[in-house]
């Protein structure tokens, strides 16, 4: 049972890499779970938490692996989710952006899913057996996430004047967070060379194709690539992540080791 309110994570390449993938999944999963009970239709009120549960499931598998790599006696998946400070989270900035209106949630989901789906499909060939297994399970889930969010975006963009305006505004707002998806640092570069990590650059053509096809059908205009915001991978986050973690962590940090 954990009795601390904060953990330090060893700075090793594989652990850092696993946490980036895990944090993306947990934070986006948490964001989507915020729709539970608030979605625009009953059907979507079930669909969005479904996707959230897929993502939180992926995060769990990855945190379990992180605990194994970390090797600190007694460390579990929960410690990574509940006992790390904002600066230790390694998710990209896109996934922590607020839900906004339904269009913003759908656009965020399209941009992320169009990236992570080919990512997992490629990671099935990883030389790391655990990552390959997580990838095989996750790829089936992410394939549906692309479909689900893509079909919604097509209908929002090609729907009413208001839904089009909102979808285009969300796309324009979130575009500057897409550059970070393809970002790689020196430690990750070494894991790519070792055949463990996926080189995101090899996914760019497919990401472009998926996004362009959806946007074309949605009659939305692809924003011009300009300055891209980054920082999440090295722990420099927007203020939004702090609020997410306050929700997620306050119980474990107020009552260390609490169970129910």
């Amino acid at each position: 049972m954990a009795t601390t309110t904060s953990i330090e994570v060893p700075d090793t390449p594989l652990l850092g890499y696993v946490l980036r993938r895990a944090d993306d999944a947990l934070v986006l999963g948490h964001r989507l779970s915020e729709w539970c009970g608030h979605a625009p239709t009953l059907e979507e009120d079930i669909a969005l938490p479904n996707i959230a549960l897929d993502l939180i499931g992926q995060a769990r598998s990855l945190y379990q692996y992180a605990a194994e790599i970390d090797g600190t006696p007694g460390r579990t998946e929960d410690d990574f989710a509940y006992l790390r400070d904002v600066g230790q989270y390694r998710n990209c900035l896109l996934v922590e952006q607020p839900n906004g209106d339904f269009a913003a949630t759908v656009v965020r989901q399209v941009l992320y899913s169009a990236f992570i789906d080919p990512y997992w499909r490629t990671a099935i060939g990883s030389k790391d057996a655990t990552l390959a297994a997580v990838a095989a399970k996750s790829a089936k889930e992410s394939a549906y996430h692309v479909r689900h969010a893509g079909e919604w975006l097509i209908r929002l963009g090609d729907g009413t004047a208001e839904s089009h305006r909102r979808a285009q505004a969300a796309l324009d707002d979130l575009w500057l967070f897409t550059g970070e998806l393809f970002e790689v640092d020196a430690t990750e570069r070494a894991l790519i060379a070792a055949g463990i990590a996926v080189d995101p650059e090899t996914l760019r053509a497919e990401w472009n194709r998926t996004v362009d096809e959806i946007l074309a059908e949605a009659t939305l205009t692809r924003p011009v690539d300009g300055w891209m915001q980054s920082g999440g991978r090295s722990g420099r986050h927007s203020e939004h992540l702090g609020y997410i973690l306050a929700d997620l962590q306050h119980l474990q940090r107020t009552y260390p080791g609490a169970t129910w």
Partner: protein, 95 residues
Amino acid sequence: MSEAKIPLWEVFIRSRTGLAHKHVGSLHAADATMALQAARDVYTRRGEGLSVWVVPSAAIVASDPSEKDMMFEPTGTKIYRHPTFYEVPEEVGHM
């Protein structure tokens, strides 16, 4: 709100063991693609099925409940229509 105009769909699922699609419920969706997606999301969360059908509720022609005496009552006395008088050989197993 335009919500009232979103069409209603009936959902049918074939489970892994079943032979026929069974009606499981209904949902609202703007079109066939979204209906199929919503059916998957709402009705197959616990591994209920391997195949899903969605049918516009408006396409279903239903019997009138007020005519149930005329429609269904007369068969009640025709017990000889149930093949309960046959001995099924052991080897046949489940029919």
